[in-house]
Symmetry: C2
Amino acid sequence: MSVLITGGAGFIGVNLAKTLVQRGHSVVLIDNLSLGSKENLQYFDLLPEIEFITADVNKLETYISTLAKFHNRNAITEVWHLAANSDIPAGIEDPSVDLMDTFLTTFNTLKLMHQFNIGRLIFASSSAIYGDMGDTPIREHDGPLIPISNYGAMKLASEAAIFAACEKWLDQCFVFRFPNVVGAPATHGVIFDFINKLRINPARLDVLGNGKQQKSYLHVSDLINAMLFVCESCKAKRQIFNVGQVDDGASVRYIAEEVVRQFSPEATIKFGVEEKGWIGDVPKFRYDVSKLKSLGWRPTFTSEQAISESVRQIITQFQR
Amino acid sequence: MSVLITGGAGFIGVNLAKTLVQRGHSVVLIDNLSLGSKENLQYFDLLPEIEFITADVNKLETYISTLAKFHNRNAITEVWHLAANSDIPAGIEDPSVDLMDTFLTTFNTLKLMHQFNIGRLIFASSSAIYGDMGDTPIREHDGPLIPISNYGAMKLASEAAIFAACEKWLDQCFVFRFPNVVGAPATHGVIFDFINKLRINPARLDVLGNGKQQKSYLHVSDLINAMLFVCESCKAKRQIFNVGQVDDGASVRYIAEEVVRQFSPEATIKFGVEEKGWIGDVPKFRYDVSKLKSLGWRPTFTSEQAISESVRQIITQFQR
């Protein structure tokens, strides 16, 4: 199988590429390196094993002409479309950011696929398309869909464009709505921030908020396994899956204690008093993942285990 | 109140403009006249009573500078965004059509509203956002939303962008998902086509399909009354409403017989044998409109009455 990954130099892209290479597939990554990086590729020593193209999916002509060279040598059979804005506050400030980077990247990728006659698309959607659904576990068919960020809005727009394409010419599409994902290589996020703070002051970790915020976290390896599991077992023309945990999550207190335990055992943790954490914090949501579970998939790590494993990986990443 | 209607020279736009003028509001219409027309404006003799601007909502600079002149004289307080591609097969052939005319018109209208600080948006969405939901009556919160046309996809994208704006700066938005709407001035549609056929051959009306297809039809006056009813009575920040009939619809046979009765009573009707009608026929759907009914709204016309009234109006339109 020959696979194109858009946004392939991001955290999830390089983890996916590594897994696909291990399974013997031919992989080409495209990334404009605005949010992804060559360091991410180096983390897994991917460059000898894959083809990497630095190009912007939104420059359609270059996108098509560059990929044509690869496609003519080694016909691409499926696309994993991960390219998107990942800076949600930037998109809230200026809607053009998500219009371009989260939606038009999808529109252009569909154009490329149609032109190259590539029949299968796997799309990284998001819990953000649901907006604020309160405390009820969210199922794939729940609505109304009232996204509260331009990022969520343009992920929903992308889903819609993909479904319309799947009615006309696309053979198969899988839409995966991602949860909070942890793992390495990390460039941001709560674990990354805690370790950074302790590198500056190994004696003390200041935590925003009272540490009681609880969220579920999926390890990136479980996310990728879930998607590959669906790709291998599901014959439907189009499917939507929530991908997420089956537990109640891990608290910020747990994350702080785990970082301290593994990285700086002598440090004292100081919690704040507020209920809420950092600005731009993802709203609380709970997925119902029974659709995915009904196919037989289960995560390897619980939320706490995913955190613990990620802390270990990110410490190693820092120590390189 | 000072109201901007985008796509204001279309069938629904001119009906809305006439009603708003009758209620004493100041109205400005913008239309690029690609699908709307000056004939539509003349049908209600609107030009003396409203301000009409020929401009393309997708030429953002012109859109903003032209409207600024009006807005500075008479501050616009709400926008009814109707501008969209209405040629669904054209959008299926080329996704750029609905990207531009159905989605970017919305994106640009939001930009204009934000810049002019206009707080209220009424948006003409569509049953097409639901895709094929089978025979179950569709409620506003039903999903999953799997549009099967680019038109439906870009209406859904528009809704999403509007909701994200409503989280940040827009004061209020009402999204109305339109049904099949009939009335005058007509430029296409089954009634229009039947009358045209009888103008050519007053003795015989050939009908595609066996005439048993049944759909519900809302008269444009009922559609507009429903929306104005919500605007006047609903205080919520954001709401979605299906607008539609509460009956089982009218058959093609009924439409054919009504056109013959009113326009050419001597004509013979010849039905086909196929179950399906014309190509591009809207897929069958049934709305659950209990949300709208719970506010106290009821349509004036049944589907059959809406057809009968529209036949009368379109015959008059032809005889001018």
